[in-house]
């Protein structure tokens, strides 16, 4: 059952990821990205990472992509806009970066050990890994510093956005 679900959602994820690149219309690309995000979230569920799956939808599909779609709809189709000048050297720069990305992927896959998830019941939760309580505990104990640093970073971004918006208005 899980294998069947994995294949279905993996195929959808890859197909919509390809569709993002192949579409000319930016709105279709954005919608395909939502498809990718949604099927990734389904894959998280098959891995028993329910919290991650829900957050994936809430944050990416529900918040960020709504903004993307919103902006694309406001600008509508860029028919009358001048064609963006294609930079030749960027294309050649892409090859080493792609190689680097593939090398990194292989490096990560090589170092991953087959992990056995503990199926013990904790406080009525289905699985010990991937539940809200285990992630919360990890965030506020072992990973407190990265968590706080990230929140400060986001706060800075918010303040920066507000400063920029204010300057436009004056």
């Amino acid at each position: 059952m899980e294998k069947v679900l994995f294949v279905i959602f993996a195929v959808i994820a890859i197909a919509s990821a390809l569709n993002i690149l192949l579409q000319r219309n930016p709105l279709y690309s954005a919608l395909s990205l939502i498809g990718t995000l949604a099927s990734l979230s389904a894959l998280y569920v098959t891995l028993r990472a329910q919290f991650l799956a829900a957050i994936q939808i809430v944050v990416y599909a529900g918040a960020i992509m709504v903004l993307f779609v919103f902006v694309i709809m406001l600008l509508n189709e860029p028919k009358d806009q001048p064609q963006v000048e294609k930079q030749k050297w960027l294309r050649y720069l892409a090859i080493p970066f792609a190689g680097l990305l593939i090398a990194e992927t292989f490096y990560v896959i090589r170092s991953v050990r087959p992990l056995t998830l503990s199926a013990t019941t904790v406080d009525g939760a289905e699985y010990a890994v991937g539940t809200v309580s285990s992630i919360g505990l990890a965030l506020f104990t072992d990973y407190l510093l990265p968590f706080e640093v990230t929140s400060v970073l986001i706060l800075m971004a918010v303040v920066g956005a507000m400063v920029l918006a204010k300057r436009e208005g004056d």
Binding site: I57, G62, L74
Partner: protein, 339 residues
């Protein structure tokens, strides 16, 4: 495993049937309530007390011509109603309708499934509902539709923040994101003194939550996306026949969802007197509470005038959002001091 699967399928089908019927009769109820408030009689021709009116309306809508505007983006135009209806239907699997009943010789839990992240699941689905409305507005290729769609996405994004932050307070208080656990925590003396509504830090949270929930379902006084005096009918101006019906269904389903969410989070869900002895009473209490909240939403609709768009945005960002942040601080402090 197969037994469980069959049970899930049966439960889902039963809930689906009940929801569709409820949506049909909510349209009748809404018209009846409107007529009472406006001192009129309301629909009373089709069947006794107008009880067959939804059937007649449904038949009429099925046989209407289904129009797709020539300049519309055809695929998105067709997909948009489904995109708003499906997430609205999906939320109902995590809502607990009662405790447990024994039926056909087996104990049946009165909820389709419980998950550790139930509240986040509902939240994720409501945030996906925006796409249907926004895409409907855009793909119709009509300026009124586009304005309606843009307004509704802006509104839903703005009010989602207050909505989510009020949920945070409840989660802090109950210590769980699982709706079943949240309801079970609210059982108290006589079955209603443990309601979250009766705990001091959550009273302001309730006010913010109900307001944000009304705005999330695009109902008056927050029905800016379909303000008929300025936008014809908003995002569904171009829609006709069953596609229009799907939007209407999604809207009523969202109303039921937010009423059930309010019931579950604040009014103790299925808790009530004697529910321990007769578990089936829980179902009755749940339906009564949801119906009560829906009636209040209708009452508000026919009493309060619509906000202006800038008022709506200012209210969301500079009143509701700060209020909900303060609420989170207060309830967190309360939970910490209580130990």
């Amino acid at each position: 495993m197969t037994n469980l699967l069959i049970e899930w399928i049966i439960k889902t089908l039963v809930i689906l049937f009940i929801l569709v019927t409820a949506v049909a009769y909510l349209t009748l109820l809404e018209r009846k309530v409107m007529s009472w408030i406006q001192l009129r009689i309301g629909p009373n021709r089709v069947g006794f007390w107008g009880l067959l009116q939804p059937v007649a309306d449904g038949l009429k809508m099925v046989f209407k011509e289904d129009i797709i505007p020539t300049e519309a983006n055809k695929w998105l135009y067709i997909a948009a109603p489904a995109l708003s209806l499906v997430p609205a239907l999906m939320t109902f699997i995590v809502i607990p309708y009662g405790s447990q009943v024994t039926m056909f010789g087996r104990t049946i839990e009165l909820h389709v499934t419980r998950m550790d992240v139930g509240l986040l699941y509902i939240f994720a689905l409501t945030s996906l509902g925006v796409f249907g409305i926004a895409l409907a507005g855009w793909s119709s290729n009509n300026k009124y539709s586009l304005m309606g769609g843009l307004r509704s996405s802006a509104q839903m994004i703005s009010y989602e923040l207050a909505f989510g932050l009020s949920i945070v307070s409840v989660v802090l208080y109950s210590g769980s994101l699982d709706l079943v656990t949240i309801v079970e925590k609210q059982s108290g003396w006589l079955g209603h003194l443990g309601w979250n509504l009766f705990s001091p830090p959550l009273i302001p949270v309730f006010a913010v939550f109900v307001t944000a929930a009304l705005a999330e379902c695009n109902r008056t006084p927050f029905d800016l996306p379909e303000a008929e005096s300025e936008l014809v009918a908003g995002y569904h101006t171009e829609y006709s026949s069953m596609k229009f019906v799907m939007f209407q269904m999604a809207e009523y389903l969202n109303l039921i969802t937010s009423a059930s969410m309010t019931t579950t989070l604040f009014l103790g869900g299925w808790n009530g007197p004697f529910v321990g002895r007769y578990p089936i009473l829980g179902l009755v209490y749940f339906v009564c509470k949801v119906l009560f909240l829906i009636l209040i939403a209708m009452w508000i609709r026919f009493t309060v005038p619509r906000f202006r768009y800038d008022q709506l945005m200012r209210f969301g960002w500079s009143v509701l959002l700060p209020a909900s942040i303060i609420n989170v601080v207060i309830s967190a402090t309360w939970v910490m001091l209580r130990g």
